[in-house]
Amino acid sequence: MAALSEAAVRQIEEICDRYQDTATPLIMILSDIQNEFGYVPPEVQEVVSRKTGISPAKIYGVVTFYSFFSLEPNGKYVIGCCLGTACYVKGAQKVIDRFSQLLGIEPGQTTPDGMFTLDALRCIGACGIAPAVSVNGKVYPKITEADVPGIIEEYRTREAEGGATA
C-alpha cells in the first residue's frame, strides 16, 4: 500500500469537512472521493476513518457493498454490461462473457494496460433497447455477442489515433 501524499490527505480531509453538518455523511464523502480520485483504496478509507471517527470496518463494508465505489483505479474506458432482468433474458450474460473472454478479465477487473474495466450493472433503465452496454456513459443498444469485438476495436483504434476520450 503506497503512502498517501500530504496533498491527497488534505484533499480527503477537505472532502470530509464538506459534510460536517450532515447526520450520516459517509456515503456523500465516499462518492465525492470516488468522483475526484476515481477509486477509494484502503489508505484513503483510513484517512476518512480518522477524520470522521467511523470505524475502518464499517467504511470498508460500505465501499464493498455499493458497486459505485471501487477499491482499485478504473481503466480509461469503463464497459458496463447491464444484467438487469430484461437484458438478461435477451442474452446479456453471453455478451458479458464475450467481453470477459476477449479482454481476459473478470467483471469488476481492469486490464493490465489500464485501458478497460469491465462492470456488471444491474438495470440501467434502458430495457427497451436490451441488451444494453455502456462505455463511459455512451450507450450501445441491442448488443449481441457478435457486436462485442467491434466495440472493443472502436476504443483500441481511438487510442491508436491519439486517445481522445469517449
Binding site: 484502503p42 478509507q45 470505524s55 475502518p56 470496518a57 464499517k58 467504511i59 470498508y60 463494508g61 464493498t64 457493498f65
Partner: protein, 567 residues
C-alpha cells in the same frame, strides 16, 4: 399500554419495545437468530415473522405493539416460511454438525430440530473460505456464519470497538475486519463478546485444550493451575449442575484427576491486586499524582484505553492484572523452591479463566518476568468443560477438594472480582479502617453493587470525599472517558470491566442454549464472598506471609508492569 390479541388470546402489553417481546411475554418462544434485547433491532433473520388478521406478514422484532392489534404467530403459512428460511440458511452453511464444537449448543442446529427441518431442498452453494486463527483469543470460521450480524452489533453497540463489519453483498457477503485483514491485525480487543452472541461456531475460542492435554501427559512437566473467581459459578452450566452454584471444590477435584499437580485460586492473585492497587491509589491521592486512577485488571479494557485514549495511559494503574501478578508469583515460587520439589520437572503454568482476552494478555510484556513468559496457557471455562466432558469424569458425582497450599486461600474481596464493582468494593474494604460486619455492609450499600453499566458514587475516606465510577461494557467506558477527557466530570477512581456486568459474562464462559443468567452468576459470587471467613484481602494470612517473605523488595518487579508508555 393496551391489549393485543395473540393467537386468539387477549394479552396485555405495557412498555415492551416491540411485538416480539409481547409475544414472548405471552409464553410463546418465537424463534429468532438476530434478535438480542441488548442490541439494536436488525430484522435480518426474518424468523420472527408473524401475521396480522388481514393476512399481511411482518417481522415482530421491528414493529411496535399497538392497542387492538390481532396477530397470529403460528399459522401453517408462517411455519412454512420459517422452515424455508432455515433451509436457505442451511444451503450456505457447511452442516458438519457431528464434528462442530458447538454441536448440541448451536442455536441454528437447535432451530432446525425445533422446526423439524429434515431435508434441504436447495443446492449447497457454500464457498470454502479460509478460517482466521490469527488472533490468540478468537477464531473466525466464515463457513459457519449465517450473517445474522449479532457479532457486528455487539462489537459496535456494546463495546464501541467496531473491529468487524459485513462487507460485500449478496452471496459474497462476509463478516470481516476492515480491508479483509485478519482479526489479529485489527483493532479487536479480544473481549470475545462477539463469540458470546454468535449463534453458531462462526466465532469461537482459540483453544489451548490439545496443548494442555499434551503437557499433562508429559512425565517431565509439573503442571499448576490457577482458577479465576468467575469460572466457579459458570462451570456447572455445561456439566448439568444448578446454574450459578459455586463449584470450585468440584473443579479443583476434577483438575487434580486430570493430572494438574497443584491447583491454586486466582482469588489469591486478586488479593495481591487489592493490596497493590489500594496502595497505589492512596499514594496518588497523597502525592497529588495522576487521577482518576483506572483499574488495570481487564486486558480488553487496557488495550481499548491504549488504542483509543493514549493520552490517558498514565491514569491506568501500573498493577498487573490478578492473573498476571499471580502468574509471576507462581513462577518465582518455583524458581526458588525447585530444589525442594520432589523432582525437577519443567513448570507449566496454566490459568483457567472466564476470558478470551486473558489469552492475549499472557503474551504481553507485563506478563513476562526476568525475560520469561509467566503463564504458558489460558483455558477458558468452556474449554475446561470440554476437557472434563472428554474424559468422562462425572462432575456431578465428584467429591469437592480444597485448593493447594501455599496459594489456595483467598478472601471474599478477591472472589467478587468476577463481578462489576468487585475490585472497587475490595479496595474499599482494604482502605477502610473498620473490619466489622457493619463496615462491610456500609461499603456494600455505597452504590458499588448492581448491574448498571455506569455507577457513580462517593465514599468518605479520612475526611476526603472519594468520587468513584464503576463501569462495565466498553461503550460505557468510552462515554466516561470522553467526559473525563473533556473535564466535564472528576473522579478519583474508575473501575472498568469490558464485558457487561463483568467477568461472569466473559467471552470464554458457556454460551448459547446452556448458559446461566447474569443474575444467577452474580448471586453465586456474592454468596461465595459471604462464605469466606476472611472478607478483606489484607487479612489473608497467606498474603501477609508472601509480603514478609518472597515478595520483600520485589513487589514492583513481580506485581507491576515495568514499562511506561506502549507507543
Amino acid at each position: 399500554m393496551g391489549f393485543m390479541t395473540i393467537d386468539g388470546r387477549r394479552v396485555e402489553f405495557t412498555d415492551e419495545p416491540n411485538i416480539l417481546a409481547v409475544i414472548r411475554k405471552a409464553g410463546i418462544d418465537i424463534p429468532t437468530l438476530c434478535y438480542h434485547s441488548k442490541l439494536s433491532v436488525y430484522g435480518a433473520c426474518r424468523l420472527c415473522t408473524c401475521e396480522y388478521d388481514n393476512g399481511r406478514t411482518f417481522s415482530s422484532c421491528s414493529e411496535k405493539p399497538a392497542d387492538g392489534l390481532v396477530i397470529y404467530t403460528n399459522t401453517p403459512r408462517l411455519i412454512n416460511y420459517r422452515r424455508t428460511i432455515l433451509e436457505l440458511m442451511l444451503a450456505s452453511h457447511d452442516r458438519d454438525c457431528t464434528t462442530c464444537l458447538r454441536s448440541g449448543e448451536c442455536e441454528l442446529q437447535n432451530l432446525a430440530r425445533r422446526l423439524s427441518v429434515k431435508e434441504v431442498r436447495f443446492e449447497n452453494y457454500r464457498r470454502h473460505l479460509p478460517v482466521d486463527s490469527s488472533s490468540p483469543s478468537i477464531v473466525r470460521d466464515p463457513n459457519k456464519c449465517i450473517l445474522c450480524g449479532d457479532c457486528v452489533r455487539m462489537c459496535e453497540n456494546v463495546q464501541k470497538v467496531s473491529a468487524i463489519d459485513i462487507a460485500n453483498r449478496g452471496m459474497k457477503a462476509i463478516v470481516t475486519p476492515a480491508f479483509g485483514k485478519n482479526l489479529g491485525e485489527s483493532d479487536c480487543v479480544n473481549c470475545g463478546q462477539c463469540r458470546v452472541v454468535c449463534p453458531t461456531s462462526a466465532i469461537s475460542i482459540h483453544s489451548a485444550v490439545s496443548l494442555v492435554m499434551k503437557e499433562l501427559a508429559d512425565p517431565d512437566t509439573y503442571v499448576v493451575a490457577q482458577v479465576a473467581p468467575a469460572v466457579r459459578v459458570a462451570i456447572g452450566d455445561m456439566l448439568g449442575l444448578n446454574h450459578g452454584d459455586n463449584n470450585m471444590g468440584k473443579l479443583v477435584a476434577v483438575l487434580h484427576r486430570l493430572g494438574f499437580d497443584e491447583v491454586y485460586d486466582t482469588t489469591y492473585g486478586a488479593d495481591l491486586t487489592v493490596m497493590e492497587e489500594a496502595a497505589e491509589f492512596l499514594e496518588r491521592i497523597r502525592s497529588h499524582g495522576t487521577l482518576p486512577l483506572f483499574t488495570s485488571c481487564c486486558p480488553a479494557w487496557v488495550k481499548f484505553c491504549e488504542d483509543r485514549y493514549p493520552e490517558l495511559f498514565d491514569n491506568l494503574s501500573t498493577c498487573r492484572s490478578p492473573q498476571a501478578m499471580f502468574g509471576a508469583v507462581i513462577r518465582q515460587y518455583y524458581r526458588e523452591h525447585r530444589d525442594q520439589m520432589k523432582c525437577k520437572r519443567r513448570l507449566v503454568s496454566v490459568s483457567i479463566m472466564p476470558c478470551t482476552a486473558k489469552k492475549a494478555e499472557i503474551l504481553r510484556p507485563e506478563s513476562h518476568t526476568f525475560g520469561e513468559q509467566d503463564i504458558d496457557y489460558v483455558l477458558t471455562t468452556t474449554e475446561i468443560s470440554a476437557m472434563i466432558e472428554r474424559t468422562g469424569y462425572r462432575f456431578d458425582q465428584i467429591e469437592p477438594e480444597a485448593p493447594d497450599v501455599p496459594f489456595g486461600v483467598g478472601s471474599g474481596g478477591g472472589v467478587i472480582f468476577g463481578v462489576t464493582g468487585g475490585v472497587t468494593e475490595a479496595v474499599l474494604r482494604r482502605i477502610t479502617a473498620g473490619r466489622s460486619r457493619q463496615d462491610m455492609e456500609a461499603i456494600k450499600s455505597s452504590g458499588v453493587r448492581g448491574r448498571d453499566g455506569i455507577k457513580e458514587f462517593t465514599v468518605n475516606y479520612e475526611g476526603h470525599e472519594l468520587r468513584i465510577a464503576v463501569v462495565s461494557g466498553l461503550a460505557n467506558a468510552d462515554t466516561v472517558m470522553q467526559r473525563v477527557r473533556s473535564g466535564e466530570v472528576h473522579y478519583d477512581l474508575i473501575e472498568v470491566m469490558a464485558c457487561p456486568s463483568g467477568c461472569i459474562n466473559g467471552g470464554g464462559q458457556p454460551v448459547g442454549t446452556v448458559k446461566s443468567s447474569t443474575d444467577q452468576r452474580i448471586a453465586g459470587l456474592y454468596k461465595a464472598d459471604v462464605n469466606y471467613q476472611i472478607q478483606r484481602s489484607n487479612d489473608n494470612p497467606l498474603v501477609i506471609a508472601l509480603y514478609d517473605g518472597m515478595l520483600k523488595g520485589r513487589e514492583h518487579t513481580l506485581l507491576h508492569r515495568n514499562f511506561s508508555h506502549k507507543r
